[in-house]
């Protein structure tokens, strides 16, 4: 459990740093992020997750929102 608390604290501290807008990328500089390979493939992730937790004791834990072209 200590490991998780340390991890959580790191998460919060890092989140604080990044959200301070240390690097603001202009909306028109999202060309590379808009590339399809810069987002995880939803179906592959779901299939992998299903296989791994059928064979291991851990599951999920990941999410993905944001990134991409940031359009509209």
């Amino acid at each position: 459990m200590i490991l998780i608390r340390i991890g959580l604290l790191i998460l919060i501290v890092l989140a604080g740093f990044v959200l301070a807008g240390c690097a603001t990328v202009e909306p028109w500089q999202r060309d590379l992020h808009a590339r399809e390979d810069m987002r995880p493939n939803a179906q592959d992730m779901a299939i992998d997750d299903h296989i791994y937790f059928s064979k291991e004791a851990s599951s999920g834990g990941r999410g993905f929102a944001g990134g991409g072209c940031g359009c509209n």
């Binding site: 959580l8 603001t24 990328v25 390979d37 851990s58 999920g60 929102a65």
Partner: protein, 439 residues
């Protein structure tokens, strides 16, 4: 039999499909396609006569306008083969009672005890609605369900995303609730009770009169996820997520047992008088489980290619802690072809109540399971994905090799058992063929 691992992860799988893996942002496209269809056929096959699985998955998304879309996922799964039942090998023939209605089976001397009654078919469906809320927020809500011979899952999930800093930062929060019902053939056995011979010639309809425990056992799972995605530069992105899950109810695997052996010779001891079986106890796990995990991913775009690395740390109150590291490199060979090699490393520690074998005469533990999935294990995965785009859509092939080794609990290899591989390694091949298109 569960095609899905019942350690509170069944829901997590469905919800992680919905919570995590399906982004709510609209897809950048040349024309304005309203429909996106993504289908895969998957083959999963373990060696040494173990599990084989074939499945078909389809995801259909209808984009109604720039701010709203609807997604439907459907999976059909068929499972066959044999899986370790939790007992250890012996120098004599071992007979095991099949779950009521299924065949009793015999394992030859020296062979790993695999339960061959492992055929099942599953249907799973999930639907979700994604909608923008104002300029910078999006919400998603969905429900999911899956049904197999002895396992029913129903769940709901939701997520909210908010952009900041001109969409350079996105915070997301999600939750899911699931209710699963396990209806093992013959009813759920009483935990840590001895395996008994089948009653009356193996034709039971599985209504749960024998073996106690009732016809259906339920399990409730709640999952929460909170995270942030931050664009670091024109090329780099980082994502951090924290998730928390709590399950309670029936978390035991009703088909798994533990061998009870002599503490000096390692040989099976006789079961209940007149049963003609060795002594095997049905496993028993706690009825609650709390898990937490921290996840981080870094993605980087080069001029032509890109790569992603991720780490996950998991911790729960069953004593399992795990570390996962994964890396992918996308080689965009041309506008129409790509190759994506992938590697993954996973390590977990054993659950507190994991026991490879129990010893006659020792005090009975409160909980015990010999399921290799709860053991101290390490897995390596290596593979690649190849994709080819045509005018209409994209074909892809994914091939992965999965290798898992596990350690028996300390002190298990007594007497005869020292000569056996108590928890044999697992080798599996994963082959996936996919096609996706828009119209």
């Amino acid at each position: 039999m569960q095609l899905k691992k019942p350690i509170g992860a069944t829901l997590a799988s469905a919800t992680c499909g919905l919570l995590g893996a399906l982004p709510a942002a609209p897809v950048a496209a040349q024309e304005a396609p309203n429909w996106e269809v993504d289908s895969s056929f998957l083959y999963y096959g373990e060696d040494a006569g173990r599990v084989m699985d074939g499945s078909l998955t389809t995801s259909i998304r209808r984009v109604l306008d720039e701010d709203r879309s609807f997604t439907l996922n459907l999976t059909l799964d068929a499972l066959t083969g044999a899986t370790p039942n939790g007992a250890v090998p012996a120098n004599s023939v071992q007979t095991f009672t099949g779950p009521s209605g299924a065949q009793d089976y015999r394992i030859a001397a020296g062979d790993p005890p695999l339960d061959p009654n492992f055929h099942d078919a599953r249907v799973a469906a999930a639907a979700s609605w994604q909608q923008a809320l104002g300029n910078s927020m999006r919400w998603t809500a969905g429900f999911s369900g899956s049904d197999e011979m002895d396992y029913l899952h129903l769940g709901v999930d939701g997520r909210l995303e908010r952009d900041f800093n001109r969409r350079n930062t996105t915070v997301f929060i999600g939750g899911a609730y699931g209710r699963d019902e396990v209806s093992p053939i013959g009813g759920a056995p009483i935990g840590l009770s001895p395996m008994l011979p089948s009653v009356g010639g193996g034709e039971g309809e599985g209504e749960g009169d024998e073996g106690g425990g009732g016809a259906g056992e339920t399990k409730n799972v709640i999952d929460g996820l909170v995270g942030v995605t931050q664009i670091l530069s024109r090329r780099a992105l980082v994502e951090l997520a924290f998730s928390y899950g709590k399950s309670n109810g029936y978390l035991t695997d009703p088909y798994k047992i533990l061998s009870v052996v002599d503490p000096v010779t390692g040989r099976p001891v006789p079961g209940p008088v007149g049963s003609g079986l060795n002594l095997y106890l049905h496993e028993l796990r706690p009825d609650t489980r709390t898990k937490q995990s921290v996840f981080a991913e870094f993605r980087y775009a080069l001029d032509r290619d890109s790569f992603a690395v991720s780490f996950r740390l998991m911790d729960d109150d069953w004593g399992v802690t795990s570390q996962t590291a994964e890396a992918r490199y996308r080689w965009n060979i041309s506008a129409d072809n790509y190759l994506e090699p992938h590697i993954r490393y996973y390590k977990q520690s054993a659950a507190d109540f994991y026991r490879t074998v129990l010893f006659a005469g020792a005090p009975l533990p409160q909980f015990a399971s010999a399921d290799y999935r709860l053991a101290d294990n390490e897995t390596y995965t290596a593979g690649f994905k190849f994709g080819h785009r045509t005018e209409r859509g994209e074909y892809s092939v994914r091939l992965e090799y999965y290798h898992q080794t596990a350690k028996p609990s300390p002190g298990s290899a007594v007497g005869d058992l020292a000569a056996f591989d108590l928890v044999p390694p697992l080798n599996a091949v994963i082959a996936q063929f996919g096609y996706k298109f828009k119209f």
